[in-house]
Each structure stands twice: as C-alpha cells, then as structure tokens.
C-alpha cells in the first residue's frame, strides 16, 4: 500500500457535495467506502481508541458509584482526606486543586503546540510539547506524593482509618489508571517532541518503529490523547474528589 493512498486528500472531495449536515451524515454512512471523510485513519483510530478508553474509565467510575451507594458505612470525606497542612492550618483538597490546574495548563500548551505544528513552526511546537510533558511529569509527581501520604496514613485497597473500606480500592484503581495514562502520554510527548524538533516531518525521515514518514498531523493526534487525559481528570475530580 502506498502512503498516498492512506492520505485523506486522495479521497473524493466530500466537502464539495451540497446539503445539510444531516444529509452528509446519511451520505457518509451510506457511501460504501470511507465513512469518516476528510479524517485521516490515524485520527479516526485515535478517536476510536479514546472511545474505548471512555468505557474503561466509565466502568471504573460506575464501580465506584455502586460501592459508595451500597455501603452502610460512611464514606471517608475526600475534602478532609486530601487536605494539606499549610502554615499551620488545614486547607481542604489543595493538592488536588493544584494538580487540576497543572493538568489544565498542560492542555493549554498542548493546544498551542498543535496550532504551531500546523503553522510549520517546529521550534515553538516542539518546545510547547516539552512544556506539556513537564506539566504532565509534575502531575504524576504530585500523584506519587499523594499516594505516599495516603499509604503512610494507612490507606490500603481493603481498609482505611476513616470509613468504608472500598474507598482505598476505588482510589487506587481510578487514580492509578489515570496516572498511568498521564505517564504514557509524557513518554509519547517526549518521543514526538524529539521528532518535531529534529525536523523529521520536513525531511521525511522514517519512524524507527513504523518505518513510515510522519506528518504534522501527528501532533494533533497526540493532542487528542492528551486532552482526553485531561477530560477524564475533569470527571474524576468532580465525582471522586468533590462529590
């Protein structure tokens, strides 16, 4: 298969077709060929992967809801559990709030990296990706701190000093799985930033793993993953920490 045949530009110009969004929706699905017109396979596959990941995180959050709703023992108050002593007074949930702001900042720098990638400004795009990776590493570091603190306080997947024993298992599963996603994202970002800064997408250098030439769209696909990690955190923050 040649690379040009995979490029969406080779598909018939679907944009030229008249009609409303719904007409095109019907035409796209009935076209007996590529359904996602104007979307490269890489981007479509990332979206499909993110959809499957949505179900994974959805199941974790549903399991947490079920455990919390069905227990007769009071649920530990996250506002107090995640409070930190700052200057002698206890500030509720402060570490989680800082983690939220760090992750949102990283989403912002990622969005700008995608923007400059499409402007073919590889230095700005690459540096912004490195900043994004730094924010991500910061987030994972704070999460490690939080885990250490809770484990020292006696939280285990089967018990904790404050109430319902399911608290520990929900906490470790949900934040652990999310932290894993952030870690993978940081690695992914560093690999891609190196390629962008080296100018691989200008020189057409082939990837070490796929042996295929990359395009600047790779930054957008990376961005989709990174924003998704932020998106999941929005739900975890609301349901696990604030509820």
């Amino acid at each position: 298969m040649t690379e040009s045949s995979l490029h969406p530009a080779a598909a018939p110009p679907a944009e030229a077709r008249p009609g409303s969004g719904w007409r095109r929706f019907a035409a796209d699905w009935a076209s007996d060929q590529t359904s996602f017109k104007g979307v490269s396979w890489g981007k479509a596959m990332m979206w499909v992967f993110l959809l499957s990941d949505t179900f994974v995180f959805g199941c974790f959050l549903v399991a947490y809801m079920t455990a919390r709703m069905s227990t007769t023992v009071p649920w530990p108050n996250p506002s107090e559990v995640f409070a930190l002593e700052i200057g002698g007074s206890s500030v509720p949930l402060i570490l989680i709030a800082i983690m939220t702001f760090v992750l949102i900042s990283s989403s912002g720098t990622m969005a700008l990296a995608v923007h400059y990638g499409y402007l073919r400004d590889r230095r700005k795009a690459g540096r912004l990706m490195l900043v994004t990776a730094l924010f991500g590493a910061c987030f994972v570091g704070m999460q490690a701190f939080e885990w250490t603190k809770l484990i020292r306080e006696g939280v285990r997947p089967w018990t904790n000093p404050w109430g319902a024993p399911q608290f520990g298992s929900s906490f470790f599963m949900i934040t652990g799985f999310h932290g894993t996603h952030v870690t993978i994202g940081v690695i992914f970002l560093l690999v891609l930033a190196r390629k962008v800064l080296r100018g691989d997408y200008e020189t057409g250098r082939r990837g070490f793993f796929t042996s295929r030439r990359g395009r600047y769209e790779a930054i957008e696909i990376m961005g989709l993953y990174w924003h998704f990690v932020d998106l999941v955190w929005v739900f975890i923050f609301a349901f696990f920490y604030l509820w």
Binding site: S40, L51, M65, T72, A111, L119, A164, A238
Partner: protein
Amino acid sequence: MAETTAHAEVGAPAAPPLPADTQHHPVKLYLAVWGWLFVLSACSYLVDYIGLQGWLRWTLIVLFMLLKAGLILAIFMHMAWERLTLIYAILLPPLLVMVFVGIMALEANYTLLTRVLYFGGGN
C-alpha cells in the same frame, strides 16, 4: 458547525498552504478557552472550599464538570469542526454508559436495602 473550517491567521509566518482537512484556528480562541477552564476549575474548587452541601453542591459540580468537558472536547479536541459522522460515532456510544449508571444505581440501592435488612447495618 460540521464544516472543517480553516481559519487563516493574519500576519502568520510564511507557511505552505494548509490542506483543507487541517484543524487550524486562531490562537486567541485557545487562550480564551484556557482562561475559561481555569475559571471553571477555580469555581468547582470553591464549591468544596466554601463547603456547599446537598443538591446545590451536586448541581454546581456537575454543571462546572460538563462545561469544562464541553470546552475541552469542542475546542481543544476540535470536535466542533468535525463532520457530523465523526461527532455522532464518538459522542453517542458513551451515552450508553448512562444506562449502565442507571442499572447499577438500582442494583446498589437493592444491595444497600438487603444489607440493612439482613446484616443489621453491617458492611
């Protein structure tokens, strides 16, 4: 909304013409969304800090959560400019999770009831 619009930035450095399928939008838009995400996160943190309880707390938490999720999805992930085909393929299936939530909520209530009735409030 479903059009893949490519906004050309005024005064942008000389770059080769962008293919029609690229998602390129003004930097101002990203910065505005970034700002709003900060504001909304601060708001949802304040809900906890002030110590609101009950329905007001839950409504505000869900409201800020959905607004943040919507902004990230629509602008940062460019969903607002994708074709309807992709939007529906990605956004409709997660709605099934809501059905799952409903089923498990019923189940959890039943489990709680049996625990209270037969285990004397034990866990």
